[in-house]
Symmetry: C2
Subunit: 421 residues, 2 copies
């Protein structure tokens, strides 16, 4: 007998018919004698409608009221899921964040889970009841207001609930059947990864893979919570019930410790992110403190800067500074730089959202030299110009023109042997 947290995203609970399908997945685990907590998102589209109403009410809205409105979406699906489970003879009840309670920080709209008091739910699970918990929300320190975790927060709710319940696994049901070596829409030969390490998954999530929310992977990594990504669109009976220990059916992708991954590749995946924008500041005086004068105001405006490249111009007195920001934040970033022009002292600013960040990720890089060199050579062979580079122990990212995105991804997928059967 195992304890399982099963999380279902918006497309998996899009309507009552889909919720019935979710209930079949839950029934499979219950029938196997497992203790089950279910975490649900809002019906797909519901949160967007709620957010649209809030924006229509006021663009400068109180984050606490935004949370009160937007949290209602998960309450609907949690209640409906409990009703469907009950109609199948499975004892169940819905739990809103404040009912559990799931404690969060005060940052309404982007709150962090600070703790879960799962004692009551543990008791209920032990008695055979299924707990259906609203994702994406909790209650803030004042104990009287709902706080939401920000978009995609339900993954984090599920992992946090799994940790609080000391679950054997946190199963994230979504509309894809696992984590792939790269986007199958670009590379049809992309393969599902049966296992991927927390560290690799974290890089993939932050580098553009939409499968898991970054924060949920961080949390799983810190607490070593085994997290599995699988599809709710697979027939419920095609999936084996969870058993304790490390015996797993080869379905979905298990995010786990790297020690568990016996035959690890040097490179396990190629990610790309299209929502980047490049900013180049031309002819900045090359003297101490200039970087602080550029990036200080951006940080104050809460604009995240990613890749940074500095080139000294031929005259030796000026420098060109190139960096990337989220495309959505480009207009604000340009506004900030314009305001700080006198203080920074530059000739001009150029910007382009027509760039893409392509990344190569793999735990194996730690012990294999030359991964980066081969990547740069392959780009050069294809005539792809690299605007900026960032690296970490287990990833290399390059910024290139958006037009070359698919070519670069396919080239790298082949280069590191990911096409092979």
């Amino acid at each position: 007998m195992a304890t399982v947290v099963m999380k279902f995203g918006g497309t998996s609970v899009a309507n009552v018919e889909r919720i019935r399908n979710v209930a079949q997945h839950v029934k499979r685990e219950v029938d196997a004698g497992n203790k089950v907590a279910v975490v649900v998102s809002a019906m797909s589209g519901a949160t967007n409608q709620l957010v649209a109403w809030v924006r229509e009410a006021s663009l400068l809205h109180d984050a606490r009221e935004y949370d009160a409105v937007v949290a209602s979406g998960e309450q609907v699906t949690a209640g409906l899921t409990a009703i469907v489970l009950q109609s199948m003879g499975i004892p169940a009840r819905s739990w809103q964040g404040w009912q559990v309670p799931i404690h969060t920080s005060e940052a309404h709209g982007a709150a962090r889970i600070t703790g879960i008091d799962a004692s009551e739910i543990k008791k209920r699970l032990a008695s055979g009841e299924v707990a259906v918990v609203t994702g994406f929300q909790g209650i803030e320190p004042g104990r009287n207001r709902i706080a939401t975790l920000g978009r995609g927060g339900s993954d984090t709710s599920a992992v946090a609930m799994a940790i609080a319940l000391e679950a054997d696994v946190c199963d994230i049901y979504t509309d894809v059947d696992g984590v792939y070596t790269t986007d199958p829409r670009i590379v049809p030969k992309a393969k599902r990864l049966p296992k991927v390490s927390y560290e690799e998954m974290l890089e993939m999530a932050s580098l553009g893979s939409k499968v898991l929310q970054t924060r949920s992977v961080e949390l799983a990594m810190v607490h070593r919570m085994r997290t599995r990504v699988l599809s709710s669109f697979v027939a419920p009976e095609a999936i084996e019930p969870v058993r304790g220990g490390k015996h797993w059916q080869d379905i979905g992708t298990i995010v786990c410790d790297e020690e568990e991954i016996v035959e690890s590749q040097v490179v396990s995946g190629i990610a790309y992110a299209k929502d980047e924008a490049k900013v180049t500041i031309l002819k900045v005086a090359d003297k101490p403190g200039v970087a602080a004068r550029i990036f200080g105001p951006l940080a104050e405006a809460n604009i995240n800067v990613d890749m940074i490249v500095q080139n000294v111009t031929p005259d030796g007195k000026h420098t060109d500074m190139t960096f990337t920001v989220q495309a959505a934040e480009l207009p604000r970033a340009l506004e900030v730089l314009k305001g700080a022009k006198a203080d920074i002292g530059y000739f001009d600013v150029k910007a382009s959202a027509d760039v893409v960040k392509v990344s190569v990720i793999g735990i194996g890089m730690r012990s294999h030299a030359g991964v980066a060199a081969r990547m740069f050579q392959a780009m050069a062979d294809r005539g792809i110009n690299i605007h900026a580079i960032t690296t970490s122990e287990i990833k290399i990212s390059v910024l290139i023109d958006a037009a070359y995105a698919e070519l670069a991804v396919r080239t790298l997928h082949t280069l590191y042997g990911l096409d092979k059967e």
Copy 2:
């Protein structure tokens, strides 16, 4: 300075544009220095959608989960209303039933408010903040589950909140501009009643007038809470802000003590209810205990029986028993009677939903004899057959064929002088 509770129904908060209009009404009261608590319903249509999902999930649903789902509608409008008020520079926050808290009984889906701890809201109102409270819901004795009051319960939420806040008035904003002598769609000469007593309003509410929920009038009557019905579709500036005391603009209808109504009519209104059904049980043995054998099983099945008429047949040994039930409950009632046939012992059962109950209501009846006699004569003059009669101190109801509904209402409206300017 007065304390005012303002309640807005579904059509008054149907979309963000309508909510902006609501906020203008609230602003008028705030600008006048009043302390304001707002009670809101769900957007019109929202609750129906939620109920439809619950029914689709399971016809035999857990009432607690029904409540968890259905209560979300008011949470959305409360949050949006707070946001719009804030955008107009009015400090405001939303309060869900569990946040206030509004305590209720355990009867999920049809709970009664058992108490409101309004201490925190009182403090906030005193500091100039507007409280926007979700109607229709509270928290049940276990303190961990939402309970709803049943359809239309927001009126009751508003009156209960007004009592808890010791408000000067509970203003119920709706899509009609007051309580009328009868339905203006049937009698164009129907007139708005500037004042109506609690007792009369209670009869009107239970006899088919849809303006106020019966339970809310009961509550207002017991606590002598002055309740005003008025239209949110009137321009906000056309309504004077509430002042303490008994000085009132002639707008809407004030439900108040009969002592306040100086020139009271003998009859103040004509109500009708179309959702009645008539059941006649033919040839029941006329012996002691037969009524108990008929109405016992119906009561056990939670079917409300209203008018009862018993006729002894010419042979003197049998009786025909006629009574009315809610039309929606007719199939269940017939089922119950069929099951109890052997025990009751009858020849046949006839039923018809093609009937209407027409009622004459007026405090003045207490001191004026002959009101009933004139009513029966007028019906006879028009050739309208009366199937059943019930009376109370301040009302007379007759059951007639549905085809005569409009004729009867018009006739009675003229008969009792309600047509006059």
